[in-house]
Amino acid sequence: MQPVTAATAARRRAALMRYALVAPAIVIIVGFMVLPLGLMLTYSFLEPGRYGGVVWSYSPEAYIRFFFERDLDDSLVFNLAYVRIFFRSFALAFVTTLVALLIGFPAALYIAMQSPRWRNFLIFLVTVPFWTNLLVRNYAWILILREQGLINEGLLAVGVIEAPIRMIYNNFGITVGLVYSFIPFMVLPIYASLERIDFRLVEAAYDLGANRWQALRRIILPLARPGIYAGCILVFIPCLGAYVTPALLGGGRNLMIGNLIQLQFGASQNWPFGAALAFVLMAIVLLSMLFYLWRFRGRGTGGLGVG
């Protein structure tokens, strides 16, 4: 019958249309994620070429190397050097995230409580560091922190210290650099969630007898939680893979995962190992994200509590 066929045709056209509309997204996901990651996964199971690149034969060597060292007689010896670098990276990323949160949250709160025009200006200021190159900004920190740097010279001149304090080429320097580099990623999402809070709720809390601290803890913090989580993730993950800051402010002695990976594709000429390191890192991050999603599932503001 005529109307039925017409309807079917229309439905087919609609379905086709839907595919056509999601096609760009699929192309991007496949082109920018699946292909490179697949390539990396493949490389991590191959043998390294003599001058970089890979030799196309299967080998789990890259993953073994992560935990073991091969002795001269080819026996495997437990080697924690790489694991230790992973640990240091996680520890530095963790401390950086914590410091960024402790500075970023009050900053975001302060900005959110200003008048709208002033607010926009302050948020604009937060993004200003992005205008200059990351390398330049890290060199600037070297100038500030080094032994003849701004801080040491200043403290010496005032007489607070007698000898310069070592503030770079150690974990302290790296942390300062990382916090500085990533703090906008903490401030912006927290600000976004604070800005959406109805501040009449805070007034209501005061009205019911909450002091400032209680209002912050019981009203503002819970409502800003999505922003805080987002900020922590946005700082922690790129911190793990940071390359420039540990290279410059760590002075090459305090490696982080990013430097280790870079080394494999550079001086060490061991692409499979580099790919394997990157993959292990990604697996850890993904698993912890999944754990987080599972653990805090339904805790968002829209979740329906079970009455």
Partner: protein, 367 residues
């Protein structure tokens, strides 16, 4: 359990609140003095922007007065922060905490006052029962209807057993039916708890039906304080008369008095007489006010009457409104007549009538 405690709950002394800096000053409250007795349903009534919310916020402590004092139980509290005042607020937007259950919302104030958990649980139950939300404690605010959220806000504010409850246009977000129910509900709550309610509205009907006392405000000033009947029957000025209910305003001059009869001449040249002079002398320009339901319509010439033509008849169910265009002046005079028997002598549009005004119904207003 209505307490019979007498005395003053809240007193405002020469309160002034100015917002903004020099040049862009807004005088939200202008030298307001007000005494609110304990255990009353007190209403602040006035048009939008007249300073009602500002006055509440000064009592709650969200704003600091530019000048003047706020006394609670005779003690100046103007410098106390909100969390140290035994005053609680029901916000117009309810301001329920979205991340807490209904029970947690209601118990929040008690928790802040460090009451033991068991006591809080009992009190929350009691409060939810008081506002008829038994068994709803586990829900989230977003799962409740507007009327239910309103009740949660009430329970939350009452749980702290405040001396004064401030309500800022709490019913304006509700639809008409719910609004009527909540009006009765609020009266019941005030009666049962014995807490002084300070209720803000711009709806004169609401104010008249609910209040023990009303303060009429305009432009940051309190114009008149009194019982609903006083405000309605003897408005002090033109604004109050016009704002509360319908009223007919007639510009006139006082022409003389004989005994207790005061005579006025309207601008149309017609003479009418009344019983009060409002403190004016012969020759003074005055504004006369007559409530529509106090005037009568006669088909022949009536006593103390103004002739005119019926312009429009509007049927209201309980009564009928007649718009009468007065002769010799371009004034429309409203008359309301009760529909008692359902077949009153029918008056139709275009008919010539006389608006007859009993002398006692004539009010003389200050401007």
């Amino acid at each position: 359990m209505k307490q019979t405690a007498e005395g003053t709950a809240v007193e405002a002394r020469r309160l002034t609140k100015v917002f903004g800096g020099p040049g862009s000053e807004v005088r939200a409250l202008d030298d307001v003095s007000l005494t609110i007795a304990k255990n009353r349903f007190f209403t602040l009534l006035g048009p939008s922007g007249c300073g009602k919310t500002t006055l509440l916020r000064l009592i709650a402590g969200f704003e600091q007065p530019t000048e003047g004092e706020v006394l609670l139980d005779g003690v100046d509290i103007a410098r106390d922060p909100p969390y140290r005042r035994p005053v609680n607020t029901v916000f117009q937007s309810y301001a329920l905490f979205p991340h807490m259950s209904v029970a947690e919302n209601v118990g929040f104030g008690l928790e802040m006052n460090r009451k033991p958990a068991r006591e809080i649980a009992l009190e929350v139950e009691r409060m939810l029962a008081l506002v008829r939300l038994e068994g709803m404690g586990g829900r989230r605010p977003e799962q409740l209807s507007g009327g239910q959220q309103q009740r949660v806000a009430l329970a939350r504010a009452l749980a702290n057993h405040p001396k004064v409850l401030l309500l800022d246009e709490p019913l304006s977000a509700l639809d008409l039916k719910l609004r009527k129910d909540m009006q009765i509900e609020l009266k019941r709550l005030q009666h049962e708890t014995g807490v002084t309610f300070i209720f803000v509205t711009h709806d004169q009907h609401e104010a008249l039906t609910m209040s023990d006392a009303i303060a009429v405000m305009d432009h940051g000033k309190v114009l008149q304080v009194g019982t609903p009947a006083e405000i309605y029957e003897t408005p002090v000025n033109r604004f109050v008369a016009d704002f509360i209910g319908e009223t007919n305003l007639l510009p006139a001059s006082l022409t003389g008095r004989t005994g207790d009869e005061i005579r006025f001449r309207l601008d149309s040249g017609k003479e009418i007489s009344g019983r009060e002079h409002g403190g004016h002398d012969t020759g003074a320009r005055v504004t006369l006010a007559v409530r529509p339901e106090r005037a009568e319509l006669a088909t022949g010439p009536g006593g103390n009457g103004l002739p005119g033509t019926i312009d429009r008849v509007v049927y209201f169910g309980t009564d009928t409104q007649f718009r009468v265009r007065l002769k010799d002046c371009d004034t429309v005079f409203l008359v309301r007549r009760q529909n008692r028997s359902g077949h009153e002598a029918s008056l139709s549009e275009g008919q010539e009538v006389t608006v007859s005004i009993p002398p006692e119904a004539l009010r003389v207003l200050q401007d």
